[in-house]
């Protein structure tokens, strides 16, 4: 197990494959069916790139995902909390994650995760209407968005504008199929890029195949 160039992410080689790990904040606890590995005093959780787009972006070679210890993160589209649990590992006990989703069904599972990890909270809100939850969150260092909506870039920019601090990182997973199924994903990614370039500096762009088809990840700085 070696520490990778990305903060808090550990790596191990399994034959030809690279496997990612994060240090488990709550030792002994699994979140989904991931592998737990103990090394000395620490316990590590395997980070599955097929279930988490952030892990996929790292494996595709992102040099920097911007997340540091003690960061405050706003996570739009947290679903049941697979990726959130790893982000929560990365920011550590002093950091904090606001997880937001609009579906009561998945948030129900997410709340059980929140009860086990002290640095997460859950919001049942529509990310399209940031003014509805402006009184429930604070300014954040990292904004992560993974929402399958047609107006994903618009939602992203709205939230970046209000909640992200200056100099903070914004991570944006784009699903081209929910913007337009008929168009070539590359064309859509290009459109999204020109749209978010007006407000943010893009430092990295990765397509996520073969882990996720027709998805890409933008890492930007405000």
């Amino acid at each position: 197990m070696i520490e990778s160039s990305i903060f808090g992410v550990y790596e191990e080689r399994n034959g030809k494959r690279r496997e990612l790990y994060t240090k488990n904040l709550v030792p002994g606890m699994k979140v989904y069916a991931e592998k737990l590995v103990s090394k000395g005093q620490d316990e590590f959780r395997q980070w599955d790139p097929r279930k988490s787009k952030l892990a996929a972006a790292i494996l595709k070679g992102s040099p920097n995902i911007g997340i540091r210890k003690n960061d405050i993160v706003l996570y739009l589209g947290c679903s049941t909390g697979t990726t959130v649990s790893h982000v929560s590992d990365l920011v550590g006990a002093e950091g904090f994650v606001f997880g937001l989703d609009s579906s009561p069904r998945v948030l129900r599972d997410f709340i059980f995760l929140c009860e086990k990890r002290k640095n997460i909270t859950a919001l049942l809100e529509d990310a399209n209407k940031p003014l509805d939850y402006v009184d429930k969150v604070c300014q954040v260092d990292i904004l992560y968005q993974d929402i399958a909506q047609r107006n994903q870039p618009e939602i992203f920019l709205k939230n970046v504008d209000i909640f992200l601090k200056k100099g903070g990182y914004a991570l944006f997973a784009v699903k081209s199929r929910s913007i337009d199924v008929t168009k070539n994903p590359k064309v859509i990614f290009q459109q999204v890029r020109s749209e978010i370039e007006k407000k943010l500096t893009i430092i990295d762009y990765r397509t996520l195949d073969p882990f996720e088809l027709d998805h890409c990840m933008f890492i930007c700085k405000k």
Binding site: L107, T121, A122, L123, L124, D135, C138, F163, V181
Partner: protein, 283 residues
């Protein structure tokens, strides 16, 4: 010096023009009275003030409580309908699977009877209720090529048969339950489309509200998404109908008429749903 007021779930705060919190209270009205003529603060600027530990723990506790309450309130008739709908479908599947096994198993003992009756539910009912001799007499067969099984072997078969009978009865009562909900919740849709189709449409879109807001051309193709997107991507032939093909008027129609009928039925369903959602009375 203008002061600003900002309220969030951690409390109400008075912020001065240098962006510092100068006072806080749980009572917004009292704060307003104390600092006369306070304006609302710009969220973009003041949100940075709440990054401290004490605020984060307040955010955590309050947000969890609010979300739990919202989840509690989010349960509605649509959820009940889709759960009962899914339960019905799954019981149907299980019942068919087990019935096939029962037929195989029972045929060791009495193959003639299994051959003569096609309805699964009737088969399991009769097997669990009657003996081989009675059943043979019913179908007019004199003797059987089945093996003679002992009492313990027959008992095991009977247990399975009565389990299937119970599953079928549960399915029926679930169906009645769903129908009763829909009679008051979406009577017009129920009248046009019937229990299982109505439930399926609600289940697929998520709620009656969503169903009421989508056009009838979309209703026509609900459940045929795969074929539709294939059509849009590759230009193959478009689908004519989705779930609504299970409706009596379509599944019994000749191939040529199906597209037209599907369009008409979708239009009728669309109207019925809109009446149900916006008026809520039987029409």
């Amino acid at each position: 010096m203008a002061n600003y007021i900002f309220s969030n779930i951690a409390g109400n705060f008075v912020i001065d023009s240098g962006n510092r919190i100068i006072d806080k209270s749980s009572d917004a009205v009292a704060l307003r009275a104390k600092y006369k003529a306070v304006e609302h603060a710009d969220a973009k600027i003041v949100l940075s003030l709440f990054r401290g530990k004490e605020y984060l723990s307040a955010f955590r506790e309050k947000n969890l409580a609010i979300s739990k309450e919202k989840i509690r309130l989010s349960v509605n008739q649509d959820n009940l309908i889709s759960q009962s709908m899914n339960a019905m479908q799954e019981m149907e599947k299980v019942s068919n699977l087990l019935s096939k096994r029962l037929r195989e198993w029972y045929s060791l003992y009495n193959p003639e009877f299994s051959e003569s009756i096609s309805s699964n539910s009737k088969f399991s009912e009769l097997v669990s209720a009657k003996s081989r001799e009675e059943l043979l007499k019913e179908i007019g067969a004199k003797n059987t090529m089945g093996a003679d099984l002992g009492k313990t072997d027959l008992d095991a078969i009977n247990v399975l048969a009565s389990a299937i009978v119970r599953i079928n009865a549960t399915k029926e009562s679930t169906r009645e339950y769903a129908e009763n909900i829909m009679k008051s919740y979406c009577p017009n849709l129920l009248g046009v489309a019937g229990v299982s189709l109505s439930a399926r449409l609600i289940e697929h879109t998520g709620s009656l509200k969503k169903l009421a807001f989508i056009p009838s051309s979309t209703i026509q193709l609900l459940g045929a998404e795969k074929a539709l997107f294939r059509h849009m991507r590759t230009g193959s032939r478009p689908p004519r109908h989705g779930f609504i093909s299970e409706h009596q008027s379509i599944c019994s129609a000749p191939q040529k008429e199906r597209g037209k009928l599907a369009r008409q039925l979708a239009a009728r369903i669309s109207k019925a749903v809109k009446i149900d959602y916006f008026r809520g009375k039987h029409d």
